[in-house]
């Protein structure tokens, strides 16, 4: 068929390639595909009698406005926006600095909000109960506001985000929790989960039904966590040096640090970490998936070792005779809840970073082993837990933990099944993604139940 086109047209095609490649979500192979299309069109137009440069112009025009094309590709390949790019986009700068000022303002707002109760004599370090109730409610609205403003959310979305915050505040203010009550601790922890998922609504700009948008929010959560920990480490160094420097001239700065630097720093870092993820999203390779690759084999080994040890050592529930019980201690159960949550996190971040079209690899097989091992451990924990509930009766802690384990069990069982089918090429990768993103509302509902229903059900103990 056609040879290379004349040099001038080849040059124009090369320039066009460079231009199209700037679309963050269009990768090299896509440009190849589009170029193939462009050349097909040019050939055809030339055959019908047009001059080469006319053919080129018409063919480019027929491909459609590049903005539209980039937007469509971005919608389809939003995961790519999280990868390292070949071209840094200069035109985005103004928006970037606008969101920086917005983030700074909101971070200061969060820092002030966390200290505002001091005006009423409520001290951060002394009034633990107060901050258990309202800590998250004082800080997280600023992060939600950041996304609502940054994405110019519709009034509908703003309402969807604001209402849970208000309801959460009402519940925490009205419920007569016992001092240091277990239900207070549970409600406070689960309220953070509820509010975080609600922030997700703001993050995706109200597109809560989209599995892709949910996956973006999961990515965001992982990256946010990494940035938050990094900021915290830097903050710890800063605090240590501050105390040391003032100590050298005979001043005790620790009081100031505890009362001001720590709470304000943590509150501000929540917002700043959110902004950092957004700002760096398309500049650096994500960190969470890298950590996932590192820790998946190690956690698989831990789970397998634990299963072996558990079966060798024997009894799971009762401590009878000289057989040591594996889950006799409450702390150990909690520890394994955390291990299972980490495993779920590893699974999520591996999925979120995977190219959906790549064929199954050794890492996907390893993941199946990890999920299967986690399932076995979850069953062991469930058996122990039901045993403990039968023996000592139900407590809010035990039921909250039981609910969490049942949800994890259902999730992991489905994940293992889909992973197996994926490895045998019976199901597309997209099903695995949709399975995981489908659980977000379940987590939201369960956490909301623990916040709203548990305290009255257990008389606020």
């Amino acid at each position: 068929m056609s040879e290379d086109l004349e040099p001038r047209i080849e040059e124009q095609i090369a320039a066009w390639r460079t231009y199209v490649s700037r679309g963050a979500a269009i990768d090299v192979r896509d440009v190849d595909e589009l170029e193939d299309h462009l050349r097909g069109q040019i050939d055809r137009l030339e055959v019908s009698g047009l001059a080469p440069d006319e053919s080129f112009l018409i063919a480019v025009k027929r491909l459609g406005a590049l903005d539209d094309l980039s937007r469509e590709f971005a919608r389809e390949h939003s995961d790519r926006l999280w990868k390292q790019l070949m071209f840094a986009d200069a035109p985005d700068r103004p928006r970037g600095s606008r969101s920086l000022w917005l983030a700074l303002g909101l971070a200061i707002g969060a820092a002030l909000a966390i200290k505002a109760p001091a005006l009423f004599g409520i001290e951060w370090a002394a009034d633990g109960d107060f901050y258990a109730r309202f800590g998250a409610l004082l800080v997280l609205p600023f992060l939600a506001a950041f996304f609502l403003v940054d994405r110019r959310a519709s009034p509908r979305t703003i309402a969807f985000v604001a209402v849970p915050f208000v309801l959460g505040a009402v519940v925490m203010a009205v419920y007569p929790f016992a001092p240091d009550g277990a239900t207070l601790v549970l409600a406070a922890l689960h309220l953070v989960v509820v509010l975080w998922l609600v922030i997700g609504i703001a993050y995706v700009g109200g597109a809560v039904r989209s599995s892709r948008a949910r996956m973006d929010f999961i990515r965001f959560t992982g990256e946010w966590f990494v940035y938050f920990v990094l900021i915290a480490l830097g903050g710890a160094v800063l605090i240590g040096l501050t105390v040391a420097v003032f100590a050298s001239i005979g001043l005790d700065a620790s009081r100031f640090v505890v009362d001001w630097v720590l709470p304000c720093g943590v509150a501000g870092a929540v917002v700043i970490a959110g902004w950092l993820v957004e700002a760096k999203q398309s500049v650096v390779e994500n960190i969470a998936p890298v950590l996932t690759r590192l820790f998946t084999p190690l956690f698989t080994l831990l789970l397998l070792a634990f299963i072996v040890a558990g079966f060798l050592q024997g009894n799971l529930v009762e401590s009878g005779g000289d057989v040591p019980e594996v889950f006799g201690q409450r702390d150990l159960l909690i520890l394994f809840d955390i291990v299972l949550l980490v495993v779920l996190g590893l699974l999520l971040y591996a999925l979120s970073a995977r190219d959906g079209l790549a064929p199954p690899s050794w890492f996907d097989r390893l993941q199946l082993v990890m999920v299967a091992a986690a399932l076995v451990v979850d069953i062991m924990v469930l058996v122990a837990m039901i045993g403990r509930i039968a023996e000592y009766g139900a407590s809010p802690n035990k039921l909250a933990s039981l609910g969490l384990n049942l949800i994890l069990f259902a999730n992991l069982a489905g994940a293992a099944w889909l992973q197996l089918r994926f490895l045998r090429r019976k199901t597309p990768f997209e099903r695995l993604e949709r399975w995981q993103t489908g659980w977000l509302p379940v987590y939201l509902v369960w956490a909301a139940i623990v916040v709203v229903v548990f305290p009255p059900a257990f008389q606020y103990v």
Binding site: D36, G40, A65, E430
Partner: protein, 128 residues
Amino acid sequence: MKIGKDLVAAAATPMVLGILADGESYGYAILQRISELSDGELEWSDGMLYPLLHRLERLGHVEATWGVSPAGRPRKHYRLSSTGRAAFAEQRRQWSVVSAALQQVWTERDGGRAFAPDRGIAPGLGGA
């Protein structure tokens, strides 16, 4: 006649699946085929086909392989998978229902004179 944007978008997936049901093809050829089948009435801006093809690929409805064009350049070929075949059958059923219902509406309205073979569409429904 210009076909509305929503209708073009709605028809895109069954159209592409249907064309691939006839055998493997690639982007430019698929658009050519659509243009032929619709006498040039069904028009996208060409680029929009590709995000759609990629979405179908992600959903597992089509499988893609890279080959070379006769001129020796890389060319991506698409083929219908078994789930794609099922999706196509399902879409086809849905469109048959819609199309049959529409036909009936028009037939009743025009006392059976609609859609005369010579394209003499009933008065009032003339092309824009």
